[in-house]
Symmetry: C2
Subunit: 157 residues, 2 copies
Amino acid sequence: MSVEVERKFLVTSEAWRAGARACRIRQGYLCLGADATVRVRLADDAAFLTVKSRTEGISRAEYEYGIPFADGVAMLETLCTRPIIEKTRHFVDHGGRTWVIDVFGAHNDGLVVAEVELGHPDEVVDLPPWAGEEVTSDPRYRNSALVSAPLGSGCDI
Amino acid sequence: MSVEVERKFLVTSEAWRAGARACRIRQGYLCLGADATVRVRLADDAAFLTVKSRTEGISRAEYEYGIPFADGVAMLETLCTRPIIEKTRHFVDHGGRTWVIDVFGAHNDGLVVAEVELGHPDEVVDLPPWAGEEVTSDPRYRNSALVSAPLGSGCDI
């Protein structure tokens, strides 16, 4: 188990793209309960099953396990809530931290969100110039919420 | 992924107890969705995370992964739906098959159910003398249902 502490921002420009490393993600949810979510994620050629607790402030418990890729594909295709989330994840170094920038596709096409993971909720973060509005506490930007209420171009936010 | 095909019976006597091997199980559910259930199980000193599809007839897809015991304990205590299911599982050989007999405790105290796993739904099964009413297709006897509607002594069934 790890405790995930992260802050999340909308992205205002393309300046982060230079030198970013990318991986392709497809993910869905086996459940979206009040206390826990269970996610199936395919990241390039790896698959993971992840249990997350309800968010407490900006932190939550996370339990992640690598699983056979074929299991991940099968669960995503047959057991996960529709629609599946598709995004390209980019890793960008800034201010001594690695930022994660998710460029969403499919139903959330046009949405770009940057996240940075912290060791502690009160850590000071050097914000990159392309980090816009902070949406850490906005439930609409949770990936689990993007299944039931996508935020793609043309959707009302 | 494996496909689970099993038949389930109520148990009518104690004759199965001689020579049975036992293990102590505590389990709970992270989700009880229409398409999938996600179960956390502690079996003696091992822990498992198990995803099962909705039952189709008497078979269902099952994906089971061993996880660190401490993770299992933490998820069971903090994330699973109450109450937790407690039972002692006994393994009994009969007619060339291994039968599993679950003696429930806690909220389902008094309930004893025998299950046998098959390779195919149409396989002929040599029923042991202590196997009573078949409840394979009775949704009340699913472990997931025993959380929300326990069948312990004093409960109406």
